[in-house]
């Protein structure tokens, strides 16, 4: 009698593992971070630092800057949280499953290792997504309130000083540009995409890492190096015949070949500055993030499939 082999990949099994991972992470009280985030957002909303602007820019320049500060603090905290979370939680997952012996129970069953890895990754991504969505909701709510307050005070001033309709319209559009916009949401999505790549990269490292600490430190370093991978790549592309020294030339090439380009995801600065992120740019970013994640998942599987426990 022949033994029926399980399929290489089963979406339902992956979803079960992903939901278990999500629950496992929620039990680590990760959402407590949201309370900290709420404090940061509320505090930055009330913290009105002295701001100065030339008289010809009008009062809007100062108020725009206050909205920009609120967005900066919120988006920065969101990015920091999602990157740290992507690295640390992914680094923790495999060693924790080994320590709890959950891994042995799962792998003893006809569960392909690809399902297990994908389930773990999707669980982490689901948690990052939910956390970012909650933080985004909080930030957007606070920003909308603040933008309305700013607009109301500007319109009151316009009434007092008898400003023309064109000036009022320019104030409205300028405040709207720094309020809750589609670009701001696109910026939050770019943070999620970057976190997905970081998590898949950390998962790959954790498949051959000797400890959680090693994975965390290495993934953090890779993240930082990845933020200026573009410079190394440009250097190499600009000097294909060797550049200044052969060592620098091959060093730049090695860096471009090994590390992902995390700098691409820094379009969030565009959203903070109130500029437009086109849909095509987000589509391209999604494409490259899916490519990175797929590559790192395949690599993780390649190493993990042969690992003995």
């Amino acid at each position: 009698m022949s033994i029926k082999r399980p399929p290489l990949f089963s979406p339902s099994r992956t979803v079960v593992i992903a939901s278990h991972t999500f629950t496992q992470l929620v039990r680590m009280k990760v959402f407590y971070f949201l309370a900290f985030f709420a404090v940061v957002i509320i505090a930055s909303n009330f913290l009105i630092l002295p701001q100065f602007a030339p008289p010809e820019t009008g009062a809007t320049a100062v108020t725009e800057n206050q909205l920009r500060m609120l967005k900066s603090a919120a988006m920065g905290t969101m990015k920091l949280f999602s990157i740290i979370f992507a690295i640390v939680s992914t680094a923790l997952l495999l060693p924790k499953d080994v320590e709890d012996r959950t891994l042995y129970t799962i792998l003893a069953k006809p569960v392909p290792r690809l399902d297990y890895l994908l389930g773990k990754l999707l669980g982490v991504l689901a948690l990052i997504f939910v956390s970012l969505a909650l933080m985004d909701l909080l930030m957007s709510g606070m920003l909308a309130v603040r933008a309305n307050m700013v607009l109301a005070s500007q319109m009151q001033l316009a009434d007092q000083l008898g400003w023309s309709d064109s000036v009022r319209e320019s104030i409205r559009s300028s405040v709207a540009m720094h309020g809750v916009t589609g670009s701001l949401q696109a910026g939050v999505f770019a943070i999620f995409l970057q976190s997905a790549v970081v998590a898949s990269m950390a998962l790959f490292i954790s498949t051959f890492a000797t400890s959680t600490l090693f994975t965390t430190i290495t993934a953090t370093l890779v993240y930082f190096i990845g933020n200026f991978q573009a410079e190394a790549r440009d250097y190499w592309l600009a000097s294909p015949d060797g550049g200044q020294t052969a060592l620098a030339h091959f060093g730049a090439l090695a860096m471009a070949l090994v590390f992902p380009d995390f700098g691409l995801f820094n379009v969030i600065d565009t959203a903070i500055e109130g500029l437009v992120i086109p849909f095509s740019a987000i589509a391209s970013l999604t494409g490259i993030a899916v490519l990175y994640t797929a590559i790192y998942t395949v690599f993780s599987w390649f190493v993990f499939s042969n690992k003995e426990f």
Partner: protein, 309 residues
């Protein structure tokens, strides 16, 4: 069959996928940079100025947040009237966030106006040194704004601010430069406020070689549908420009055509008369005011000519 060694295979796979990624990443980076979605990489000198922690945060993809904190630092320096530190801080801020007009506008204003006025009045310094420092800061501020205008080719705000600086008699006035920058401001898109277009008229009218152009512009603004430019300044400039001896009398508008009644005409022209030392054209203004005073029965002791400042 002998199994292939996994580590060399993995290394090969990493390099091969890297080689496939590079053209994609390179094209996407170039595309994002050309669409102004990504900022230029930070140079070494800026990283050194930021200090290790801020540089790490900026390199980690949070440049706008570092810019916000550097801006707060610049504001503190302004409150302490530490002008070299103000200038240095704004240089750093604008390197971090070159697309935020507020930083360019505020930095330029601090240098060209606040620092320059401070040194002009600083009695602790000998007069030649005061004059030198005042000039240096005006030039520094103007240069700073010009760099901002080059970095933000879509902005009308920065060329407008530069034009006002060159037009300011308390700075280093240069009517040619003022007109050149105002022309540039007006040429930058449809979002230029009506007041800036009128400001261009006032500048052109004061330029000895551009009065013909000023007359054409004044007539164009006057004829604008909806009469949005029919404000006191435009009406007075139009009146004076049309009363130049070169303009045939048949082509001149009378005060009755320009204003609803004599009282409004007098109010408008007498305000304009106050600017007679600024180089504004005054053809026909004195005579018109004298006639209006006569027709309105304004006593001699209340005459605009008796109460000349």
């Amino acid at each position: 069959m002998k199994r292939l060694p996994r580590l060399p295979l993995l290394v090969l796979a990493v390099l091969a996928t890297g080689a496939l990624r590079i053209p994609l990443e390179s094209a996407l980076t170039a595309d994002f940079r050309s669409r102004n979605l990504l900022l230029k990489p930070l140079d070494v000198s800026t990283q050194a100025k930021l200090g290790q922690t801020s540089a790490a945060v900026a390199l980690g993809g949070l440049r706008t947040i570092v810019a916000v904190f550097q801006n707060i630092r610049a504001n503190n320096a302004f409150q302490q009237q530490d002008w070299p530190r103000v200038a240095a801080s704004f240089e750093t801020v604008t390197t971090l966030a070159p697309r935020t007009l507020y930083y360019w506008q505020t930095g330029g204003w601090h240098m060209a106006t606040n620092a320059a006025s401070f040194y002009r009045d600083d009695q602790t310094l000998p007069a030649p040194r005061r004059a030198e420092l005042r000039r240096d800061f005006i030039r520094q501020g103007t240069g700073f704004l010009q760099r901002g205008a080059r970095n933000n080719p879509q902005s009308w705000e920065l060329p407008y601010q530069i034009a006002l600086l060159f037009d300011d008699p308390a700075k280093i006035p240069n009517i040619d430069e003022a007109v050149r920058w105002m022309d540039l401001a007006v040429s930058r898109g449809d979002g230029v406020p009506a007041a800036v277009q009128r400001q261009r008229l006032y500048l052109l009218a004061r330029h000895p070689q551009r009065r013909q152009q000023a007359l054409a512009l004044a007539r164009e603004l006057y004829a604008e549908p909806g009469g949005i430019h029919r404000v006191s300044g435009v009406l007075s400039y139009l009146f004076a420009l049309e009363h130049h001896p070169d303009v045939p009398p048949a082509q001149r508008r009378t005060l009755a055509e320009l204003h609803p009644n004599s009282a409004r005409a007098y109010q408008s022209l007498s305000a304009y008369w106050q600017h007679r030392h600024s180089g504004a054209p005054m053809d026909g203004v004195r005579e018109a005011l004298a006639e209006l005073e006569l027709s309105l029965g304004i006593p001699d002791d209340q005459s605009i000519f008796t109460n000349q400042p």
